[in-house]
């Protein structure tokens, strides 16, 4: 029996980041040049083979060889699991230098042609939009390909379950992200989830997601005019983390400057310090003094005392904006939510780190872990950030 191999889709530059190092702005453990989703079908030749028409789906990473990438191959050997097809490049003599098994064959040549087509800008734009919205779940899908088969299946079924649980009213980015990773993992476990979904993905998408700046501006307009209180809850840092403290101050400056520019109302800021984060709160309050606004700290060693201070302060204002920088004591946040329920309030949660997608595919890595809050001008950064990067919620 003969088989036909059909390349359904190529995912450009799947980059795998280590999970336990995410918060350290870590580099990826491996960036492949592509991920090929393929279907293998038997070509029926005689009567005996007629019943054997099952096709199966599989996938493998693609690596375009160049001469100076020996270290990558060592990583591949150490990772063990993923199947890799190496593409030949007649311009260099990499094949001679690499002292390992490579698949320079018909498949490699066919993939080379397809790969060039998929690297076109129009195709990449859809991935860029999806990955800008959230790359984390794609990282989960790519990371899953490194797992042992039985564990890979478990994660694949989780994603298929997620696909069932997402309603049709969910934002388009959510539906497309889940659909895409479900499809990748369905290939990984040879499962048919739907017919001919892959080809549609190749069409570039023109839907543009609103930015953080636009959404925040709309929400502030809805709040109207009045006396604004901004309560700041910074994630507790250890003493030595000066760099992260600077980043917290920078994040706050960017957000407060934006709020001032859009509200034109009197604004007071109170930075909340609890237990060992009291000193940190003082530093942050001092760091935003340059904005020439009323900024103080609310600090206490005692939880009840701190909550009563917050409650008293909230009563003095019409409008409250709560900014949570990454994380905070959940007890405090939970109680504080009860105090603001009768007010016009806005909750903003920022994240210190995210994945960004590069504009230029050829010159640098397509995806990298970074913090958007370093050395950026306020208007620029908020106007550029995808709405998914910050949670903005009106109460």
């Amino acid at each position: 029996m003969k088989f036909e191999l059909r390349i359904d889709r190529i995912v450009p530059s799947p980059t795998i980041f280590p999970y336990d190092m995410t918060y350290s702005y870590s580099d990826s453990i491996r960036e492949y040049d592509g991920l090929a989703l393929v279907t293998i079908e038997p070509i029926v030749k005689d009567v005996k083979d007629e019943e054997k028409t099952d096709m199966w789906k599989t996938l493998f990473f693609i690596e375009h060889l160049s001469g100076d990438e020996t270290s990558k191959k060592i990583v591949d050997l150490a990772l063990g699991n993923p199947e890799i097809v190496f593409l030949s490049d007649e311009k260099n003599n990499a094949s001679k230098r690499m002292n390992m098994l490579m698949h320079f064959n018909v498949l490699s040549k066919r993939l080379s042609e397809e790969f060039a087509r998929y690297a076109e800008k129009a195709f990449l734009s859809k991935y860029k939009r999806l990955w800008n919205y959230n790359y984390e779940l794609h990282n989960l899908a790519f990371h899953t390909l490194l797992l042992a088969e039985s564990y890979r299946k478990k994660i694949a079924y989780d994603v298929l379950k997620l696909r069932e649980k997402i309603g049709t009213n969910a934002p388009i980015e959510v539906r497309e992200t889940v659909k895409d990773i479900a499809e990748i993992l369905a290939y990984a476990i040879n499962e048919n989830i739907s017919k001919n979904t892959t080809r549609n993905f190749n069409k570039p998408d023109k839907v543009k997601s609103p930015t953080v700046g636009k959404i925040l501006e709309d929400k502030l307009k809805e709040m109207g005019h009045g006396k604004f209180l901004i309560l700041v809850f910074p994630q507790m840092l250890r003493r030595e983390a000066i760099k992260r403290l600077k980043m917290q101050i920078n994040t706050l400056r960017i957000l407060i400057k934006f709020i001032i520019s859009k509200t034109c109302s009197p604004i007071s800021v109170r930075v909340i310090g609890y237990d060992i984060s009291k000193e940190q709160a003082k530093h942050i309050a001092w760091g935003i003094k340059c904005l020439n606004i009323d900024s103080e700290v609310l600090i206490s060693d005692n939880l009840e005392n701190l909550l009563s201070k917050i409650s008293e302060k909230i009563k003095e204002y019409d409008k409250v904006i709560i900014i949570i920088l990454q994380d905070y004591n959940k007890n405090v946040i939970s109680k504080m939510m009860d105090y603001v329920v009768s007010k016009t309030a806005l909750i903003i949660v920022t994240s210190e780190i995210t994945y960004s997608v590069s504009e230029s595919y050829t010159k640098e890595r397509l995806v990298k872990a970074y913090s958007p809050w370093f050395n950026e001008d306020s208007e620029k950064i908020l106007e550029k950030l995808d709405r998914s990067k910050i949670l903005i919620y009106s109460i």
């Binding site: 336990d20 478990k154 989780d158 969910a170 250890r238 939970s334 909750i347 990067k389 949670l391 919620y393």
Partner: protein, 444 residues
């Protein structure tokens, strides 16, 4: 002081070695060893001996074996994991093998000299004190728990290594709830395992920090329940490290054993909370008093907090007939079988939806293994169904979209309670969506 795992049952040896390899490979390998028996009675002993080479803390793993098929492959894999980028295994572990029963060398008094005779090519290990041994007699049906214990003791001082130690400690406590609690051997094994993990976290990891700062160091810094890691490291570097390790291990073992014996073994939550207190007391007594504030405890401290807020959680969840609906919560690095058992026993829940982020991929897979074990070993009334749903966490806006999309499609009446926990980017959206849909929630 050294730790020793001893197994003499063929099936237990196979399951144990397979699980150790799977856990150490970060689940990238599902190891499978031969079911065939060797010619005589099988015998496997694995010793973990802490030592210092120059100023560097290392662990020596000595594997002694007889009549076991494919044991050489197991040892080769252990050695390979030191250099595999995805493996959790610490680089400061040296694996050596003894292809026979070496009773006379295995005695504690002689083990130090055995080390020296073994190392032909590796540096001479000094400062090995083996006055006593902690022996784990691994029996069939408990090998999964011991495999996780061994894997966590061999893992490094990084986020996943610390998480693995937490899971191992918490799962050991649930082992008491599953097993016959009057079995003295199980009680001893659990107490020894918890003491070994505590010594590993509070003496071993800070000693690693002495040479391993930077990114890995910061993980140790954030994870350890010390108020001042630097003073602890300085203290340990000036002291006789192995003696501090031994002293702490012995005292903690006695305290934990007494805590288990005092009729708490059938209440895992209370026991976890009590042991967290005991570990804190022992640390202040024996290691560096100034370094430990006593407010947090790495291995089981989370359950002290859960116990402290149990009435509030019960007030929110139990009144809503949780037994006949679903409970939604978050899978974090600290979510072990102990957390699931707490929900089952205290809230009477039988159907849980666990939202997890990609950061806890391995914890999610490990949890399912242990939940399946629980369901296979307890009565029908105590069994639980868990649904695992991945959601993102680094982009809080996207997290909200996902949680809203999932919960909005579900029948609101079937969700009886939400316990919002984990990172704020996940816990807060969960709370907000719960409030929007009129579902009872509590932030933990």
């Amino acid at each position: 002081m050294f730790l020793e795992f001893e197994i003499t049952d063929n099936e237990a040896i196979r399951n144990f070695t397979e699980n150790v390899i799977t856990y150490l490979s970060s689940l990238t390998l599902k190891a499978s060893f031969s079911k065939k028996k060797g010619r005589g009675d099988p015998y496997l002993k694995i010793a973990i001996v802490p030592a210092i080479i120059d100023k560097v803390a290392i662990k020596e793993i000595i594997v002694s074996y007889k009549n076991i098929k494919e044991i050489e492959r197991f040892i080769d894999m252990l050695r390979y994991f030191r250099f595999n980028r995805l493996s959790v295994m610490s680089e400061s572990v040296i694996v050596r093998k003894f292809p026979s029963i070496m009773t006379e060398v295995w005695s504690p008094s002689a083990l130090a000299s055995a080390h020296i005779s073994l190392k032909k090519l590796l540096p001479v290990v000094r400062n090995v004190v083996c006055r006593r041994k902690f022996s784990f007699n691994v029996k069939r049906s408990a090998e999964k728990f011991h495999a996780l214990l061994l894997a966590s003791l061999l893992s490094g001082g990084h986020r996943r290594g610390i998480s693995l130690r937490q899971l191992a400690a918490q799962n050991l406590i649930t082992l008491l709830a599953i097993s016959n609690s009057s079995d003295e051997a199980i009680v001893n094994n659990v107490a020894k395992g918890l003491a070994a993990l505590a010594a590993d976290v509070y003496v071993w990891l800070p000693r690693l920090y002495f040479i391993k700062r930077g990114v890995f160091g910061s993980e140790i810094h954030y994870s350890l329940a010390t108020s001042d890691l630097d003073s602890l490291v300085e203290y340990l570097s000036k002291q006789e490290f192995i003696e501090r390790y031994t002293e702490f291990l012995e005292i903690t073992y006695e305290e934990i054993k007494n805590a288990i014996s005092s009729s708490l073994k059938d209440n895992p939550l209370k026991l976890a909370s009590e042991i967290a207190n005991k570990i804190g007391d022992c640390l202040r007594k024996t290691v560096c008093f100034e370094a430990f504030s006593g407010k947090r405890e790495t291995l089981l401290g989370y359950y002290r907090m859960v116990k402290g807020r149990l009435e509030e959680i019960k007030g929110t969840c139990s009144n809503r007939d949780v037994a006949n609906g679903k409970l939604v919560t978050v899978l974090t690095e600290q979510t072990s079988l102990l957390f699931i058992v707490t929900l089952v026993r205290e809230l009477k829940t039988k159907d849980i939806i666990l939202l997890y982020t990609p950061q806890v991929l391995y914890e999610r897979l490990l949890l399912e293994d242990f939940v399946n074990y629980w369901n296979n070993n307890v009565s029908r009334e105590s069994q639980v169904t868990v649904d695992y749903i991945p959601v993102p966490a680094l982009d809080p806006g996207a997290t909200y979209d996902f949680i809203n999309a999932i919960l909005s499609k579900m029948n609101k009446d079937t969700i009886k309670c939400i316990i919002a926990r984990g990172p704020m980017s996940l816990a807060l959206p969960l709370t907000l969506v719960a409030k929007k849909n009129g579902i009872q929630e509590v932030m933990l």
